[in-house]
């Protein structure tokens, strides 16, 4: 979030060091219509990423699991959509408790009204913008556990995960008083909070969940790549809101984040395709879609801190790094079905570190002579990895005991659409 930017640049740090957010109790600030319009739009754009993700993932699974996979994203809109206003927002952005989490002051958005202001925009807009991030992050994990996890357990999992993993990490990085914010970690739009946390949690989940039947033995092919391409297109579109909206203003910084997003996505797509062309003879549509997402993920933490030339470098490198991670995975043999770890975990970590290297705008990284920032980025990355992996592993382990993780063999064979949703994706 440009929240950091906001704290650092709008030169109102006092607002953020006090224990009560200014906009909730007093309204000295005026809302800025233009900033509001842009963040409203950005919020809608991020919402659209969720159906986009549903398509991106849904196209990659086998036909018999397409609805199951899409429902992983849609049900997140339902349950985290509710969880966020009930308790998520206040845990992430409520008054700080021990630099770790927010308190319960804003449960049910208590005490916030249309006139409440947050920076230059209505607090409601800020809440909604942040809420979309909270929804999409657990849905990202679903790419790893696709085609074999019980739906009921998944639903319970994402509610608990959002509450115990996402909300605290968001507080660390973007909540006033959060320890990583205090430390000066730079994360413009969610490299740590969104991508590392989901990618690493994906890894923890599949460590317990195991592989799909037939993995690496029989062809498990994407059933509809037109959905995946469309999904990638919607993700690219929505990511402008994700990144440039994180400036929380309609200004030059938003423009910079927008430009970097565009450039990195293009470069990521290009380098992934070149990699495939070189090493497996065919530049594939799935590769194009994957490269786009890799480029978008990697630029996320850096979007408002680097110049477009460095965005070009980051995007290009992200394509290479994530492509390698994905190819490696099949060598190692773990079954991250749709590469949630390979792209979000690896790409997010790469981006978080790259921010520490290349930041020159609104912050200073290694190339601007600040090795300390790079250290801070490493701390943020490692802390997120450790916390997310540990918590998720524990959570999934408990859920396995209590509810069971996997569908029955027969259900896996005939598909989760039939078993869990009583439907077929297509009657063609």
């Amino acid at each position: 979030m440009g929240f950091i930017r906001f704290a650092a640049i709008v030169v109102l740090p006092s607002l953020f060091l006090g224990s009560v957010p200014a906009w909730a109790t007093e309204s000295p600030a005026e809302i800025n219509g233009a900033d509001t319009a842009w963040v409203l739009v950005s919020t809608a754009l991020v919402l659209l990423m969720i159906p986009g993700l549903a398509l991106f993932y849904g196209g990659m699974v086998r036909k018999k699991n397409v609805l199951s996979s899409m429902m992983h994203s849609f049900v997140a809109m339902a349950v985290i959509g509710v969880q966020w206003v009930v308790i998520g927002y206040t845990l992430a952005f409520g008054p700080d408790v021990g630099h770790f989490v927010g308190n319960l002051k804003y449960m049910f958005l208590n005490g916030i009204g249309p006139e409440s202001v947050s920076g230059t925009i209505p607090t409601y807009v800020f809440i909604m913008f942040q809420g979309m991030f909270a929804i999409i992050t657990p849905a990202l994990i679903s790419g790893a556990i696709a085609e074999r996890m019980k739906f009921s357990t998944y639903v319970v999992f994402i509610v608990l995960w959002a509450t115990l993993v996402y909300d605290p990490i968001a507080h660390w990085v973007w909540g006033e008083g959060g320890w990583l914010l205090n430390l000066g970690a730079l994360d413009f739009a969610g490299g740590t909070v969104v991508h590392i946390s989901s990618g690493v949690s994906a890894l923890a989940a599949i460590a317990l969940l195991g592989k799909r039947k037939g993995f690496l033995q029989e062809p498990i092919l994407p059933h509809n790549l037109t959905l995946t391409l469309l999904g990638a297109g919607l993700l690219w579109f929505g990511w402008f809101g994700f990144n440039a909206g994180s400036a929380l203003a309609s200004d030059g910084n938003a423009a910079l984040a927008f430009t970097n997003t565009q450039v990195s996505a293009a470069a990521g797509c290009l380098s992934w395709l070149l990699g495939e062309w070189r090493f497996q003879k065919h530049p594939s549509a799935l590769g194009a879609a994957s490269g786009i997402v890799a480029g978008l993920v990697a630029i996320t933490p850096a979007a408002g801190f680097v110049t477009p030339v460095w965005a070009l470098v980051i995007g290009f490198a992200a394509g290479v790094v994530c492509y390698s991670a994905v190819v490696l995975k099949s060598r190692i043999g773990y079954d991250d079905s749709l590469d949630a770890f390979g792209i979000h975990g690896v790409g997010g970590a790469f981006g978080a570190l790259a921010t520490g290297l290349f930041a020159t705008v609104n912050g200073a990284g290694l190339i601007a002579g600040e090795p300390k920032q790079f250290m801070v980025q490493i701390i943020a990355t490692v802390a997120t990895i450790v916390y997310a992996f540990g918590m998720t592993y524990g959570l999934v382990w408990i859920l396995d005991k209590v509810m069971g993780l996997r569908v029955a063999d027969d259900e896996e064979l005939h598909g989760l659409d039939q078993a869990h949703h009583g439907e077929k994706g297509y009657n063609l």
């Binding site: 498990i220 092919l221 594939s284 994905v326 099949s330 590469d339 390979g342």
Partner: protein, 112 residues
Amino acid sequence: MKKVECIVQPGKLDPVREGLTKIGVSGLTVTEVKGYGRQKGHTELYRGAEYTIDFVPKIKLDVVVPEELVNQVIEVVMENARTGRIGDGKIFVTPVEETVRIRTGERGKDAV
């Protein structure tokens, strides 16, 4: 009556159908099938994992004709479906004991 079952390459449906029309075969039924045989499938790479696709798409034509036409049908199919490469397919001839045209109830040769 005999049924001549021809399994051919996907692109060969139209030439075969045209050839058959010329020798007076006025009807046939087509099914999309997948074949396994000497022609090996290809390998596909997905996200670094390599899969062998064993089955290749084929078209099956069922042509029911009077016995005396069978050899002609075989010839026409050979002519129009042959490329000389592995995977050109097979022809199987099987007996048909009765044929009926549903619309009219006609039987035997009159029915096809």
